[in-house]
Amino acid sequence: MESIPYEHGLILASILFSLGLIGVLTRRNIVFVLMSLEIMLNASGLAFIVAAARWGHAEGQIMFLMILTLAAAEVAVGLGLIIQMYRRFQTVDINVLSEMKG
């Protein structure tokens, strides 16, 4: 059977990745920012899967698992911070976090 060339996978991953990046740039709601980050991480995870598929290794998939845990941890910490932020500012707009500059 005909397999999909891995470039396609990579291209898909990079599209996803860029989407995430754009999300980080454009969103003001910090929750969405976090989600965009998730997308970025997963995109790179996907890239690893694709690569692993190309070589038929397990390493890439292991890497993917690592990324999952990592992403989970990020979100955990992130959400914790969001709660603190909401407590203090009653908002989730990241622009309130701009007291330090110069």
Binding site: M40, S44, A51, I67, L70, L97
Partner: protein, 487 residues
């Protein structure tokens, strides 16, 4: 392959640090006691340091594909653990007045150290990511630590969020880059990237882009321009111990990885990478120094200067690809050591004067320090002069190494940038010194009784190191020479 018992021997330092973290956790679970937890951490780190130093004589083997435990990694394990220990000591007096649980800070610190140790001994993407993220995760926590405390003067929350979001994004870039490289070469181990038997190998397809993405990711973690913007805010917002941890261990560990990666993967074989690195170096040197020029907040000044220093270090990295470049690796190693000592020292002085509810971080606050607290002022002066690269201090020897590396590789342009940057740098370092020697103002934010015995002994130790390594660095030079051959 499966881990044998023998493999555990070289892993001792890592295991001890991990153990320390676990014990700390248990201790906290059993009974909250600031002193106890701090004590345990210090002890554990001390033991780890000594064991690592002990091992340096013998150990030199690849434990699993992930970790390389050679003298080089052990050397930096020593540096990391020692630094972590010092920071722990500093944190104790700093956190004392915090109106919140203090113990978890040491837990985070311990875990961060695990990450750092893993990083300095990693020569594999997986372990890199593992270590890096362990480090960063706990740093988020450390940065945000006083977030509950009403009295916390700074903006830990803001700092932490900024740091988290950006560094997560950076990690994303890093990972994606790795993925691209992997996709091209089919290996995750640094060593095999260059010599991957499989197919096209490096240089083809996306791999260069992958390399660049990796560089960007690392550049961000090292806060090289133009990825530096987060640095001052995070440094300023974070509590001092976290800041100093981030500034010293965080940078050092990352740099070791960068060094290993660049040298092993032969990345500098590509024009584009060299160009990019040079660009990063020059940009960081200029941006860092210029930004610090008129800055009034001490933490921010140190943040900016750290940007510049990373730029200096990058010069040596670039030089390392040069055929004759025997010295360059040593230069990186020595300068990292020097940098850890001096910037830790600088932060230590500030920390000694500050506490979680009042941070003395405005340059103006230091007016007349020289006449009020000569000892602290002297140490601070020494550290600043060292950062400026003046003789009698380790900073000068470090600069000397960098210049030498640059000359060897005849990177005249970068050297010019280095000279220019250092020239500008003198200004803001001296500005602080000048403030300190001015007469004492009537109203001063300085606390009269500054620092605990612990922090003072740390200062003394660091000053000693600073001067000994500045005047008679020969032994350390010898060690570094021998270990640098392993890279």
């Amino acid at each position: 392959m499966n881990i044998t018992l023998a493999d555990l021997i070289p892993l001792q330092p890592l295991l001890i640090v991990t153990g320390t973290a676990v014990v700390t956790m248990l201790a906290v679970a059993l009974k909250r006691s600031h002193g106890l937890t701090a004590g345990i951490t210090v002890l554990g780190l001390l033991v780890a340091t000594m064991v690592a130093a002990e091992l340096m004589a013998t150990a030199n083997d690849q434990v699993t594909p992930l970790l390389i435990v050679d003298q080089y990694s052990l050397f930096f394990t020593v540096v990391v653990c020692a630094a972590a220990m010092f920071i722990t000591i500093l944190s104790y007096s700093y956190l004392a007045p915090l109106d919140d649980d203090k113990e978890e800070f040491y837990l985070l610190l311990g875990i961060a150290t695990i990450g750092a140790v893993v990083m300095v001994s990693s020569n594999h993407f997986v372990s890199t990511v593992l270590g890096l993220e362990t480090l960063s995760m706990s740093l988020y926590g450390m940065v945000a630590y006083p977030v509950h405390s009403a009295k916390a003067v700074k903006f830990p929350l803001e700092a932490s969020v900024k740091y988290l979001v950006l560094s997560a994004a950076a990690s994303g870039l890093l990972l994606f880059g790795m993925a691209l490289v992997y996709a091209q070469t089919g290996t995750l181990a640094f060593a095999d990237i260059a010599s991957s038997a499989a197919t096209a190998g490096m240089g083809t397809g996306f791999s260069v882009i992958g390399l660049l993405l990796i560089s960007v990711g690392m550049a961000f973690k090292l806060s090289l321009a133009p990825f530096h913007m987060w640095t001052p805010d995070v440094y300023e917002g974070a509590p001092l111990p976290a800041t100093s941890y981030l500034a010293t261990i965080g940078k050092a560990a990352m740099f070791v990885v960068l060094l290993r990666f660049v040298v092993a993967s032969n990345a500098l074989a590509f024009e584009s990478v060299v160009a990019v690195f040079s660009l990063l170096a020059v940009a960081s040197i200029l941006a860092g120094n210029l930004l610090a020029l008129l800055q009034e907040n001490l933490k921010r000044i140190l943040a900016y200067s750290s940007i510049a220093h990373m730029g200096y270090l990058l010069i040596a990295i670039i030089a390392s690809y040069d055929a004759e470049g025997a010295v360059s690796v040593e230069a990186v190693s020595f300068y990292l050591l020097a940098y850890v000592i001096m910037s830790l020292g600088a932060f230590a002085v500030v920390a000694a004067l500050s506490s979680s509810d009042s941070e003395v971080d405005r340059v103006a606050d230091y007016q007349g320090l020289f006449w009020r607290a000569p000892w602290l002022a002297a140490v601070f002066t020494a550290m600043l002069l060292s950062l400026a690269g003046i003789p009698l201090t380790v900073g000068f020897i470090g600069k000397f190494y960098l210049f030498f590396a640059g000359v060897e590789a005849s990177l005249w342009l970068l050297l010019a940038a280095l000279v220019l940057g250092s020239g500008i740098g003198l200004y803001y370092y001296l500005r602080i010194v000048y403030k300190m020697i001015l007469p004492v103002p009537d109203s001063s934010a300085l606390p009269n009784s500054a620092g605990s015995l612990g922090s003072h002994s740390v200062l003394a130790l660091l000053l000693l190191l600073l001067i000994v390594l500045g005047v008679y660095p020969a032994p350390v030079m010898a060690i570094i020479e021998s270990i640098s051959t392993l890279i």
